[in-house]
Symmetry: D2
Subunit: 143 residues, 4 copies
């Protein structure tokens, strides 16, 4: 019996200004695309930044990692697949695969880790917030 896998796909139009003088997406913009994918995942699964904020938490990143493989050009789209990685810790972990639309090649992979801080005190939460446990229970329940 395995848990459900939470995954989501989002398409991002590459802006003219996202591409650098080499006419390819500047590497730093992948971090933005990954955030776009998180927000799109959040809309699909009721876990947007503002949803979490409404539960009195902020969820800053403690780590971001990106491996770049092939470039994405202006005129293409970036297609981001994001997987929720279940963890017993009070953390939010996502894996990302970013494809370029012209030929479907894997352009980059990435991972982010976020923690929970109380919105007012900014105190790090070492125990999983109750709303997050419930959210996981609802969405990761075994079939």
């Amino acid at each position: 019996m395995s848990k459900k896998k939470l995954t989501h796909k989002t398409e991002i139009r590459v802006r003219f200004n996202d591409a650098d003088p080499l006419a390819i997406v500047w590497h730093g913009n992948y971090v933005q695309y990954m955030e776009d994918a998180r927000e799109s995942f959040g809309e699909a699964y009721g876990f947007r930044y503002l949803d979490v904020h409404g539960e009195d938490y902020v969820i800053p990143l403690v780590n971001v990692n990106v491996d770049y493989k092939v470039p994405i050009r202006y005129g293409e789209k970036a297609i981001v697949e994001i997987d929720f990685i279940d963890s017993p810790a009070a953390k939010i972990i996502f894996d990302y695969r970013i494809y370029r639309s012209s030929d479907g090649l894997l352009a980059a992979t990435g991972q982010t880790t976020q923690v929970f801080l109380h919105k007012e005190t900014l105190e790090l939460q070492l125990i999983i917030p109750e709303f997050y446990a419930k959210w996981k229970g609802k969405h990761l329940a075994e079939d």
Copy 2:
């Protein structure tokens, strides 16, 4: 008897990511360079964003205008000359001339207009705030 002219010059390194696929500075970044020049002016004349905030005002832009003449390339610097334009209204008006460092050509001119809102109420101030009148008195006093 004429008032002093308040002017300031700031040099801005063009980031790789500021240039677009044509290898020239993307037009939207000039608005950022103009803000950089305002902040640099503010440091020189005691009129930074945080100084104004400390006086309980926020100063949003109500207008920005940019005329583009020649492009600036990656590897060059943008040299921004900013002039404070005195006005009897409760407004902050600046003129900008942006030069490219390679040959000194005028790359763009611009203008911004800001108004005063009270920091808490966000109410538009129709009368010049006292601290601003004092600041102008100090810096624009006739020689």
Copy 3:
């Protein structure tokens, strides 16, 4: 007998990073939203940046103007209405109205003017390029 009015509407999700410490969209990002609207217009009417580039022209901005009225907050969308302004000159002129989604208020208006440069020589075109005259003929023909 009046010509058709070419207009287009596009919705833009406000990114977390588009908002500044006041939690409102930073003024410079409106210039990006206006470009997004031009590209969306271009997709609808066969006049994307890459279409023009394929006709051997680049179309840099020579002017941008934005009037700010009310702020747009993170969590809202920016809804941009863009109008093509017909002109006998070898110019591309657009008007913009940017609304915030929460209450439909007009957040900003803007205008951009672009010119045609030959892609290779970068020479300014004083006469309307043939492809542009045809494009206008097709889309602005009187009813």
Copy 4:
């Protein structure tokens, strides 16, 4: 006998627009600050992007990693210490320590890895380019 350690320090003014609605620097901007530090290192040691380009190579990132510790606020500066990490591979590896100016606390650490592609063919270079070997010989020579 140990090799010289190549290190460099650069100060970066946090732009108003670099800070997000929480009034802290948005996480994606650290990737920009790290590039700023690489360029500043490059100016100090004759290894700017344009220097490498002049040797017929482009040097895209294949990995970026950032660990976030404490936030940096608008009004502070980001102070980036960058270390060149010597490697026998045809790679360029840097370590970064990013401090906030207000109290000197370590705000983030990072690492980037770049490879060499030939500027025209975009072919990956598996052997260290001669100019890079010379540059390392000059700057890393034992005392």
